[in-house]
Structures are given as structure tokens and as C-alpha cells.
Symmetry: C2
Subunit: 88 residues, 2 copies
């Protein structure tokens, strides 16, 4: 694995991990009014497509981080459903 | 450009566009308390690295959407600075 693949792994790690403090913040505040439902649902759909893209190209970092990202965005979407008042 | 590249373009389009309603929502509510500063800053850093990855591999969708994504995440970070109370 060359340097570029490591960059991809770190890039995905950072973006995927970024959802963890966001989920924690919403759960701690027990409020998701400011979280856009369109943000969470479009991101979810986009990650499904990136996963397809990664599989087709055999790009390990894209596959790996989009699988983990999908789990996290589903948790955020659940938190929005639980704590968020309606709003796009 | 084959079908896979179109999937990548649509994936990036969806994820990049997802930031637009999120920014709109924060600006409309004039509140970004629930937005995690770690979420925005890690995403920003991750996008810079994805852009590097895309350039190294010559992957057009990754380059394109990360450039636009960077502009949007900077706007969201600005909104967090303006409207968000402190919190990780």
C-alpha cells in the first residue's frame, strides 16, 4: 500500500470519526432541532453510492470508511428522529 | 466516463449538497449549539486529505466534490463560530 492509500485511510478516518462527536453532542443535549433531516438522509444515500463506487474501483479506504460512516449516520438519523423537532 | 464515475459524481453531489440544507437550517434558526465544532473541523481536515487523494489518483468526482465540500464546510464552521455556543 503506497502513501496515497494511507492519505485516503486518514481522510476517511477523520470524516468518519467526525460523526462521533456530532452524535455525542446531540445525545448529550437530547436535542437535534438544528440537525437537518435532509443533511442526514442525503449523506446516507451518498455513502451508499460511495460504497458502490469504492467496490467497483477496489478502493479499500472508500469501502472501509463508508461502511463505518453508514452505521454512524444511521445513529445520527435515529437521534434526529428521537430528539429533533420537524424541519428540513 | 463509465457508469462507475457517474455513481461517484452522484454520490459526491448528494453528500456535498447535504451540507446546503444543514447550513440553511443553522442560518434560519440563528443557532448552532447542537453542531459539533469537532464534527466541522475534522470534516474540513478530512476533505483536504480526500482532495489530495483524488488528485494523486486522478479521480475527478473525488476532486470536484471535495473542493465544493470544502467551501460549504467552511461556511458551516463560520456559522458555528457565529451562532454556536461553546461545546465539542
Amino acid at each position: 500500500m503506497d502513501l496515497t492509500e494511507y492519505i485516503g485511510l486518514i481522510a476517511g478516518f477523520l470524516i468518519t470519526c467526525s460523526f462521533v462527536p456530532q452524535i455525542m453532542r446531540v445525545l448529550r443535549l437530547k436535542s437535534a432541532r438544528e440537525i437537518s433531516i435532509l443533511f442526514t438522509s442525503l449523506t446516507l444515500l451518498g455513502m451508499v453510492l460511495w460504497l458502490t463506487y469504492g467496490i467497483k474501483h477496489g478502493l479499500i479506504p472508500i469501502m472501509l470508511w463508508n461502511v463505518i460512516g453508514l452505521v454512524l449516520i444511521i445513529i445520527l438519523l435515529y437521534a434526529k428522529m428521537k430528539y429533533g423537532r420537524t424541519g428540513a
